[in-house]
Symmetry: D2
Subunit: 281 residues, 4 copies
């Protein structure tokens, strides 16, 4: 399993989120509290949008995040208003850059925590469902990358919640066809540079942890002395696998089987339900 | 493209073949003379059999062979009577351990120099032809690994020349279906711990270079002063992408469209022709 | 801090010690119980002697041991009767191959767990004490490598216990000169291919954990059903940072301020005391 | 030996200099024309200044530049008005991140092509000349890093040309004391975020190649159709180990034994001569 962070809001140095908090993602790479594995040392990745390039930049490497100097350097010198970070604990697949998150396609980025149960048995069926025009671009061997390709196949660019629902539906259908009881376990973040969609779902209804930060104006009222809160816009939002600290009132659990959209003009939180491809939207 | 070496014969330290010769494989990683690329610095691998384990050991890494200390260490301390070595020049696919040769399945090892033309377009069709029971074990993204899985699918363990012929036939058929004029370019080595099969073939009839060493008894007559030749058995044989030196009489070109078997009791050299799966053997 | 294992005895596959035990070194890399850090993921190394080469082979890499495929491969295919293994948790110095243990000089290997307190302040004085003929061979930036060079300077090849005592004496003297209260914390293993010396010492008298295995004949009497014990010679011995399992009677703590010699003909355990260079032996 | 580039001028994406030119630094990593080695695949580094951080960011890695995806990503997404890039061909020292250029101290960056002759013999004497307060920060094992520490010791922050002259003088003095005929061979770039100093010197008077770009206003007159020249300021300047292309009039050889300063308000080019520490400035 893994841990991840999605940030959207006032442009900041990545290090302010990745390194500075008490229980930062870097700390979680050594001492995760809520993850299935306490150590997440099988590679990492960050992806960030900048105003003057079409695609997000993605930096990934195979060693642990906690001792990687390039991650430290880039985090302390790059500023972004929308970025992802992910630390990996392999469930068996190779530790290689192409298995590290986030994955990218054009302007879109994707990262995942969780697993497809008995992926080894389902892998071929799921790969066959990928659009043949996209199939050749699969570079790694993870369930997570394949989920991204399935979502792209099912219309991620036009309708992210619908595409992820169809992806989940297909995985559950394939799993059940192979006699796998609870095929899917996932928290997902996906972005297009303007908005971030996050999903929390599992077939068994006991999904990996996911939290979102409270509205900044509410936090300012709660913590009038917190200098940090004065420097960030009201629309700033974090979604994280586990809280970055213990300040009261900051972190809220994302409900089971739901998805949220972080976007200019007002975030939303809705119910998530897998769909089959022929289902009405 | 790539360069490779297959050794079979008297057990020796790997370094005697990999490092000591004038134009050794390590030298070829910096200054290949006959390769499509002069630099082969996108990863390397060695695989060796030992008397007391069932499977060959495989050591692979993503950096260049010429500066890798672990390769230097292992080569100078491991002795084997049957080993492979490969240096890689990527034609675009990711530089990662799972894309490095040799590939292994049980007792079998495989390495390749060459390419499937327009692999990007053929990849999915070829992947679908892999035995569904084997498909989940594909870890990398190269044409070379996929060729190995196709050969395994087509009976490599029972009939190596037949399986490789059917693999080549399928690739050419898939290529022609997609309008690719010369789909296949290959030199291949495959071993099971007792024998080594090597193949030289290309759809266009202009295959990558491949050489085999002269019989040791003939070499001894030619070079009575060469101490090295006294220490190795008459059955010792090397097959290489390009000669390791300029000693006259040592290196013989493998003919176009042929395959050889290095084995106890007498090596053989035969014509190679792609086959379709339904063809009579 | 770090964890390590030294094995001497019947030649075995390295994996039998590194991977198979319940709380193997690989398990300790993720979940150390007695180390200062629970995670030891900042590089690893193994070194092994073989009958037919003068020097030990050393394989080291910068990633975690738990996911390294080359470590897995070599451990499952290389057999040795005297080998070291080490997993590293950096105390700040760079994660690079030249900072990984074991270190080697000719036939000698060295590995260390512990630290020189405030090494940053003492480093130059200690480096100046290294034999000028050896100084240019320092490749890394750790206290551990510098300790090896000091021991070599002080006669490690002729008198290992004396050289390590003089090394410890110098470090304590340098530390006290800089006002460092407890300059040295160490468990060390050093070998020359025939014998293994292990040391446990700290200036404060509270040294890192170190254990040695019980004599094999005693263990056989204790555990008559343990098949493993029948296959190894009576002289087989393990010295480890923490026990590899919970079988009663197997593991004995090395006493504070002592050193042992594992050697043919009878192991010894003696008191260790730092010495100054002019001290009588 | 190595190859490097220093850019100062209009902020641009790093890729415009590192990847786009016909004979870019990335192309030089595979096919250097003027270097001692044609392949520069033993690590690389980039360092760039941004308006809103005190120190430059440094990204370094041990593999070849030509296949490194993180270099590709960062170069295509980071914009800077003052940056360095370096590709390394090791002359024997370890291939590790701490041996990759550029080196950094606070706001200062340093990179080097060349070598100290018989560095192995001079290393200790030179290390002893480093300010004891700086010595503990030496992390690697190269002559290049040690030259940086010597220059810092001799006042780089206050007087770069004087400090580099004293560094060169000390190296030549140490070399001659050890009977080394031509101790120093160097092209160096050093920056503080506002200015870039470049040096070309060798004891034998046959220094490695170094070129600077022609003034932008002159180039515009020469190449009125070159769109690229319209987008960059008149003060933009490149200093490179070898020309990035063949456009006439663009590249000028830096004279033997000279140094230049690229700075706002007008660049300068002056004679360089090693100095001994007591010399009058």
């Amino acid at each position: 399993m893994c841990r991840w962070i999605a940030y959207s809001g006032t442009p900041i140095l990545l290090s302010q989120v990745l390194f500075q908090p008490e229980h930062s993602l870097i700390d979680q790479s050594l001492h995760s509290r809520m993850g299935v594995e306490t150590t997440n040392g099988d590679g990492f990745g960050i992806g960030w949008y900048t105003p003057d390039t079409d695609t997000p930049a993605v930096l990934r490497d195979v060693g642990p995040a906690w001792n990687n100097r390039n991650l430290l350097e880039v985090s302390h010198h790059v500023r972004s208003g929308l970025f992802f970070a992910h630390i990996r604990a392999s469930t068996g697949t190779a530790v290689q850059q192409t298995n590290c998150h986030p994955f990218r396609s054009g302007r879109w980025m994707w990262m995942h925590n969780g697993a497809i149960s008995e992926f080894h048995r389902l892998r071929r069926d799921l790969a066959l469902a990928v659009d043949p025009a996209l199939y050749p671009d699969i570079e790694g061997s993870t369930d997570s990358e394949l989920m991204f390709f399935l979502a792209l196949t099912f219309g991620l660019r036009e309708d992210p919640p619908g595409a992820v629902a169809r992806m989940a539906g297909l995985i559950e259908k394939a799993g059940h066809a192979h006699g796998v009881p609870n095929p899917l376990q996932m928290t997902i973040a996906v972005a297009d540079g303007d908005r971030v969609w996050t999903f929390r779902y599992s077939s068994e209804g006991r999904s990996r942890s996911l939290f979102y930060s409270t509205r900044v104006d509410t936090l300012r009222a709660l913590h009038p002395d917190a200098a940090f809160l004065r420097d960030i816009s009201e629309e700033t939002r974090l979604v994280v696998s586990e809280p970055l600290g213990t300040l009261p009132g900051v972190w809220n659990e994302v409900p089971e089987s739901s998805y949220g959209i972080v976007q200019p003009g007002g975030d939303v939180l809705r119910t998530f339900r897998p769909a089959l491809q022929g289902d009405p939207a």
